[in-house]
Subunit: 307 residues, 2 copies
Amino acid sequence: MFISNLNVTVMLNRLEMLRIFCTAAESRSFKEAANRLGISPQAVTRAVKELEQLQGELLFHRNTRHIQVTQVGEKFALIAKERLRAVDELFQTSAPNSGNELQGRVRIAAPVGFGHKCLMPVLLELSTIHPQLDIDLTLSDERVDVVDEKIDIGIRIGFMRDSRFIARQLAKTNMYVVASPDLINRVGRPASIVDLNHLPVTGLVDRNTGRLWPWVFSMGRQWTPSITRFRSADSEAELMSVQNGLGFAQIPDFLVQDLLRQEKLVRVLEEVEPVPWDLYIYRPQRGPVPQRIRLVFDHLVSRLSVH
Amino acid sequence: MFISNLNVTVMLNRLEMLRIFCTAAESRSFKEAANRLGISPQAVTRAVKELEQLQGELLFHRNTRHIQVTQVGEKFALIAKERLRAVDELFQTSAPNSGNELQGRVRIAAPVGFGHKCLMPVLLELSTIHPQLDIDLTLSDERVDVVDEKIDIGIRIGFMRDSRFIARQLAKTNMYVVASPDLINRVGRPASIVDLNHLPVTGLVDRNTGRLWPWVFSMGRQWTPSITRFRSADSEAELMSVQNGLGFAQIPDFLVQDLLRQEKLVRVLEEVEPVPWDLYIYRPQRGPVPQRIRLVFDHLVSRLSVH
DNA sequence: AATATTATTCCAAATTATGGAATTGTGAAA
DNA sequence: TTTCACAATTCCATAATTTGGAATAATATT
């Protein structure tokens, strides 16, 4: 328990305090935040004031005419929002599992980022439903044909016009140029592709060539970073660096859509985005296909498709 | 707001509810939990009861003589504890940054898991201190000599007896056999290495050979998984599968120590663990070394060393 | 069978949260 | 420049919630 200043009541419900603060951070006024939450404006003032005292710094600049979240407040709100959501999630019921069991080895290949973000949850779910399955997962960002020959199911971005495989489109995937709100506040947003030349950027390294992947834009335009703030062949590491404000990056939408929704990242250069690419799942059309491969394939299609 | 049954008061402070529940989950009685928290046993009863109503299922089996957290309760407690900690963390102040600025490219190589878990936070910190640095990070789990030639700073597990490099030991790293508590509850814990032959395990694939890395034990013993529940060359994916109870795995301590501390994972076969390996950082001893390399090296040493 | 201990329920008292009213501050309109 | 409308903030009386003592019920131990 903490002792407050005179005239500031002690508010022990920190969860509600955070919720009020986060709502205020995305409102144009405390009054608007209060309306959204169905509470009084005094409650918003009290919550923000108490949080500022706990944090030891201002989270909003404000007067009777407008409010402005501080940079510290902005960062704090992003983290708080996520953690608030995580706690709220604890109070939402989840559906039970069901299904019949499969067993044996299934070899699956996918891009790294998609693997971690979208595929692993589904594979874990699959494995719960079918405890006898042996999932052999290969994650890489490059098209390695020899690997394709050894897999049962693959997921790729691009196009698939090969009769050796049965392919099914999962979704269209966009390539977004994104950055953290903090970075944008500091350096501004690019108005055109050429602006990227003098903004901090990060880069994804092609493991095969050692060079940076070019960024793709509408009308077939490309731009390759030269000077970067951070670069790696590891897309996860690149994403971490972007989230932490090191630079702008071009990243597939499935990796960042949650972060965009949570306002941890912001899209820029939307008007020059390339046409969406296909995200598809495929399996070889050779010989009789084990039932488990067919069923896993169908399960992945149903769980990964975006309608 | 939710309408409770007769005689159950509405408790809006969900954070405290979770805290009470989590403390009870690791206590031998509600009275003990109450003592730990400095509240009355009635408060513990009320919090647990209300949480059970919100979740729609029993979290404790209990009578006046003892309490037993249910399996659902156990799982819920593990998640809740982490999220509770994450929220509590929001209310702890953090120290400001300081330092002088460096600029230019620094090429760093490290193992994937260590890179994500231990190294990225430090690199992000470095980049904040030195915004002009261009960090080029290569993450891989294999020793690739040609890559070593192109790097400025490397981090490796094993031994380093090469006079071409300046090496400094960061820590001893242990290889732990771990599994989720849920899995152990379901299948029991191995009493010896041979028990692994009929327990579910996951495996890390050597990208170069396509085969599974052997597990290492004391007195030079090795064991290689044959049938796995899950396998990947991607250590992150393997770790996710272990956390979700797919199988036992042998994983370096730096990847799992937080999860062990949080009781999300449990160590087994501790008595046959191999002697610790060296985790060391190194840089080439060729020609004059740019100051930025030297300073980054020293910074990494100071931040990554375990005392 | 008796006893000690703990979970649970009830209830009065204590504590906290709440919004109306008033005050203060600020930008826009006259 | 003055006036006005609006919102942040503070104060305070009231409402709502939380609290622990007391009582009850249940259970393992003696």
